[in-house]
Symmetry: C2
Subunit: 365 residues, 2 copies
């Protein structure tokens, strides 16, 4: 096996494989490179994900080689040469630039498993819209706890594709326009977030079947993607729909960045619970962090307030996550009575329709 290939795309694919697959799994420790008349392929297969890439290359000799994922990624990461020549040499894979040769020990390619079979293409969405949606929604999933809360629910409904995640204290959803086949999966949030974050190009290709979900792209010199198995758990879709049926008592129209900065300033005064309260009053939201030990803070942020004047307390960090998802946009906060969640949406929807629900803290007696 011998080929010459652009360094950048191969390095990025190797880095992606290294990040998407955990180091612990022995089988997932390797990455397979193949060279043929069709070009060069990279694949890494693990329980958490399957990663692949296809690269335009000058192939001098066909073949297959397995090498360590970390070794390939770290070797390619540091190169500034625009292209590399890759060659099987005895028990090593040699990677050459004009002035350097790096030789990585071979793994048994057969043991790394066959090249992955992908689920079919279900549809396509603008990459930037998907990236923003996944970043916001996956952030609301839980890092630990029940697997159900580690997942992003991805489900199509006619011409809409909805992403949703919750850790029970907050819930984020994004709705994208969809012109594809039916999708109905629960995707591990961390893997999805990483796969979306590093997605190049302007269009994301969604692969899906009953058990798997993947994101891919077609570039000019390379294609690639990552597929992850769906979590086999029933997601409480009906409950989610109920929660999204918000009946606001009070509506606040405010700049997300201004409110976020004020909440950040209140955090040192929010005590061990991190409780920050919002009081919607006449023309302002009053942001308070109140913990007797930490002192107290009070800040007014200009806002348009409609409906009843209301005060609610939140875990400040959840409020910050919610506001961060909207960047510098104006947002609408809809406050409900009791411990019904507060809804945050963009005042003017662009891209994905994003909604963030944050459950307020119970009032102290």
């Amino acid at each position: 096996m011998e080929f010459t290939v652009a360094t950048g795309p191969l390095a990025r694919a190797a880095a992606r494989a290294d990040r998407l697959l955990p180091p612990r799994a022995a089988r997932a420790g390797g990455v397979t490179l193949t060279a043929s008349a069709a070009g060069v392929g990279l694949s890494a297969v693990g329980e958490e994900a399957t990663v692949w890439g296809e690269f335009a290359a000058v192939v001098h000799g066909d073949g297959v080689a397995g090498v360590g994922r970390r070794a390939l990624a770290s070797t390619l990461a540091g190169l500034d040469a625009p292209e590399v020549r890759v060659r099987l040499e005895g028990s090593r894979l040699a990677i050459r630039t004009g002035t350097a040769r790096f030789a990585i020990p071979l793994l048994d390619a057969a043991a790394l498993g066959p090249a992955p079979e992908l689920p079919p293409v279900a549809g396509r969405v603008p990459a930037d819209v998907l990236k923003a949606a996944v970043a916001a929604v996956a952030g609301a999933a839980s890092r630990d706890g029940l697997p159900l809360f580690n997942g992003v629910r991805v489900r199509s409904d006619g011409d809409r594709l909805r992403l949703a995640a919750t850790d029970r204290f907050r819930l984020a959803t994004a709705v994208l326009p969809w012109h594809g086949s039916a999708v109905d999966v629960l995707v591990p949030a961390a893997t999805l977030a990483e796969a979306a974050r590093t997605l190049p190009g302007s269009e994301a290709i969604v692969h899906a079947d009953a058990d798997r979900f993947g994101l891919a792209w077609h570039g000019t010199g390379d294609n690639g993607g990552a597929v992850t198995p769906s979590l086999a758990l029933p997601f409480p879709d009906a409950q989610l729909d109920r929660l999204l049926g918000v009946r606001p008592e009070c509506t606040v129209d405010v700049e997300a960045a201004l409110l976020r900065a004020a909440v950040e300033r209140a955090m040192p005064f929010a005590g061990p619970v991190g409780a920050v309260s919002l009081e919607a009053a006449d023309g302002v939201v009053v942001v308070r962090g109140t913990d007797d030990g930490a002192g107290d803070s009070r800040e007014e942020v200009k806002a348009q307030v409609g409906g009843a004047a209301m005060t609610a307390s939140y875990q400040g960090r959840y409020l910050l996550d919610a506001l961060r998802a909207f960047g510098d946009d104006r947002v609408i906060l809809q406050l409900q009575t009791g411990i019904q969640p507060t809804s945050v949406t963009a005042a003017e929807q662009t891209g994905a329709e994003l909604r963030y629900l944050v459950v307020p803290l119970r009032k102290s007696p």
Copy 2:
């Protein structure tokens, strides 16, 4: 006590106090603010350091107040208002902007100790030269182990001020032009590094006596600085001078950034010890990482080589630290026989005269 002051300098001084003094020490947990006709002062006193600041301010009422270091720093850090009004209100210190009020619980100012008395000014040096020198030298000190190796030796010799630090595996020295009184101290490296890193302005004022060393500045709207006690340990100056008397067998003139990048690329092949070898040959340095398990690497970097052809192995990370200190400059490597250290100096000295010695690894039998 009540005053109006620019937010930036006060926030930076509070942040500096919070970083330079460890959170554990109870006495060091507080910071004292004083307001008088002379302006506003900040001081924080701890075993590791004394930090102070003086600020131009409109003083509406004199007084003294003690508050938590972390509380003051985190409150001021998030403010975007250009100035704040600070006022003693009952048991709290209130910090106001146009739209917000933050109130921090008071500490007993008397218990925080008296305002620090500083050692006298010993001399002045250009801030950028000192910053570069301290960053390079303090990096060679040990993070743990014997206290002697956690210090930076600062000692004047006529019109030169030498900074030196070693962890026994490498030694870094910087010599600055000096027109001041005698300095002869051993300064905790971590504190010195932090104090120098955050030094504003173009001139650093060196304070020193037999037991203390400090860096200060005079700004347009604020003055400030930090003083740290000298470590009471005899530094082996004579041994250091002997080590600096390099007798090179081989001299390599090479671009620091190119060699550094090549060493970085060799690191994945350097095995558990991280051993990287340099072979000085005809017109090139050959950089190798060789560990049978990790594969092998070989890269040529253009260089002018004088004297005998030589090969030496190093802990790659020490070599990287040494080269990093010289940025994009051309450097001269002087290799000595056996396990005598290799010296790295700038091909053309600018600012501080920097020298980095790296002890090579013993050759395997």
